[in-house]
């Protein structure tokens, strides 16, 4: 049988290397390489036929830079009104001081218009069109799936998380981030119009300021595809250089706002943000996201996990947070401490059920890893399965999406 994707080992190995390199770029932490990033920015302006910006100003996080963007585009008044003077001052004063120190007037019109279209979107579209023409639609789709497609969902999720955290701190309503994604998909000009019509002034101002951002290292997915298509030597070279050297950045006619990379980035094996004893993502100014296995949690929630008790777990009314507590406490410990009874036992493992007040029960299969650990012990682990599961075999079979009667491994390691 022949397949769509004829195997070409050399090409595939090369695509894998390109993808791996951009994966590293996307997750890199530590101080930005400022000189390289600034050279990259200037190359972008030159490639777009724009005059060089007169100032490049560095900020510690996307939050600070978004605040600067609000000051420079006139959106800060609406945000000030919403946040209250004290909180607004705390946020905008240091940012304004940094702009002033760089010789930039920290007020509406101080930076000129956004040139994101010119330096990022149009060159990107031209390069994609060239790649399309060269490779054909199917060739491009295949190339994308082997490069950018591998990185897309995580980099997309990460920048989405950052954007909604910034929005939440600036307008106290980050919950509509999903809607933002739809708006963005509708095209950026239309999105700007829709935002102005649909949402209150402060929220719209913040989202518009965020629409001006270029994601730097978090643009890794599409840069990987462009590199694989041989498109990074030309007009995209500057964008790639900034992405390799720094975090998010905001290009305006006269001023560019650049940001540092995170100081902390912690993910689990599935690539989700995950940390139990501090922020999963943090920037030098303290802007941070607290996330446990992909689920955003309040910062003080994690601090309280160390002293968890059965009573506290059962008293938690938020089902999502209770799940986090259970996972942190340890299902095994919880099963012992609550005196839970096994529902069923067979050669695949043990099925447990925990009744919870006002929530569906937690039903789990307890499975023993077939390959012993280096110390000779076998690791036991618990997997949550749908509450209606009746046997351990049905539970394990469900985790692999096969019918209970068909789950018969010949060999397990």
């Amino acid at each position: 049988m022949t397949t769509v994707q004829q195997t070409m080992p050399d090409r595939d190995a090369n695509l894998a290397e390109v993808t791996a390199r951009w994966r590293q770029t996307a997750t890199r932490t530590g101080a930005a390489e400022r000189v390289a990033a600034e050279q990259g920015v200037l190359a972008c302006y030159q490639a777009a036929g724009l005059a060089a910006p007169r100032a490049l100003v560095w900020f510690d996080s996307p939050l600070q830079a978004a605040a600067a963007a609000l000051l420079l585009t006139g959106g800060s008044a609406a945000v000030r009104a919403r946040l209250g003077e004290g909180r607004a001052e705390e946020l905008f004063a240091p940012v304004a001081a940094r702009l002033t120190a760089a010789g930039v007037r920290a007020a509406a019109g101080g930076a000129g218009a956004s040139v994101r279209e010119e330096v990022r979107t149009r060159p990107w579209e031209r390069s994609r069109t060239r790649a399309h023409e060269r490779l054909g639609a199917r060739g491009w789709a295949s190339l994308w799936s082997l490069t950018g497609g591998e990185l897309w969902s995580q980099s997309q999720a990460l920048s989405g998380r950052i954007r909604s955290a910034v929005a939440e701190l600036l307008d106290r309503s980050g919950e509509q981030a999903a809607e933002d994604e739809q708006l963005r998909a509708a095209g950026e000009h239309d999105a700007a119009e829709l935002l102005r019509e649909r949402v209150p002034a402060a929220v719209a101002a913040v989202r518009l300021a965020l629409l001006d951002a270029v994601f730097g290292q978090h643009d890794a997915a599409w840069l990987a595809a462009q590199e694989a298509a041989g498109e990074l030597d030309g007009e995209l070279a500057g964008l790639a250089q900034v992405a390799r050297a720094a975090g998010w950045w905001w290009p305006y006619e006269e001023v560019v706002l650049l940001t540092e990379r995170p100081t902390e980035l912690h993910r689990d094996e599935a690539g989700r943000l995950d940390r139990a004893d501090g922020p999963a993502l943090a920037y030098p100014d303290g802007f941070a996201l607290h996330v446990w296995r992909g689920m955003p949690v309040p910062a003080d929630f994690l601090a309280g996990l160390a002293g968890l008790t059965l009573d506290r777990i059962q008293a938690e009314e938020n089902a999502e947070l209770r799940r986090v507590m259970l996972e942190h406490y340890g299902y095994d410990r919880y099963l012992t401490d609550t005196g839970a009874e096994p529902l069923h036992r067979d050669e695949t493992g043990v099925l447990w059920r925990i009744q919870l007040p006002d929530d569906e029960p937690v039903v789990m299969v307890e499975v023993v890893n077939s390959t012993p650990e280096p110390d000779g012990t076998s690791r036991t682990y618990w997997l949550r399965v749908p509450p209606r599961t009746r046997t351990a075999r049905a539970g394990v079979a469900w985790t692999f999406g096969v019918p209970e009667e068909e789950y018969q491994p010949l060999r397990e390691t």
Binding site: T7, G149, A270, T399
Partner: protein, 110 residues
Amino acid sequence: MYRQGDVLIVPVSPSAVPAEGEQAGLTGQQRDARGRLVLALGEVTGHAHAVVGPGELLREPGAFGAAWLHLPEGGRVVHEEHAAIPLPKGWYRVVRQREYAPGAVRVVAD
């Protein structure tokens, strides 16, 4: 069927594999820098369930998309923390273990 950690490898008849005309949504998995076909990759440790030897892996898009493995000469699936499993020649469906979460389903991080 064979199981290595959080990956299940189920033998299938060639007729169960999407025919050529139906493969538009599938992509051929690239080999990694060591020339292996990676069935599932641990993001942080870099440990992988991987096949050594000739063959190909066709994937549907998405974390839960189906994948089909063709081993014309048989092969071995290896992992840094699990014993290797020899596989006879033929076609297989490759399934990643998942976990139930209320309102969602999550990929297991092995």
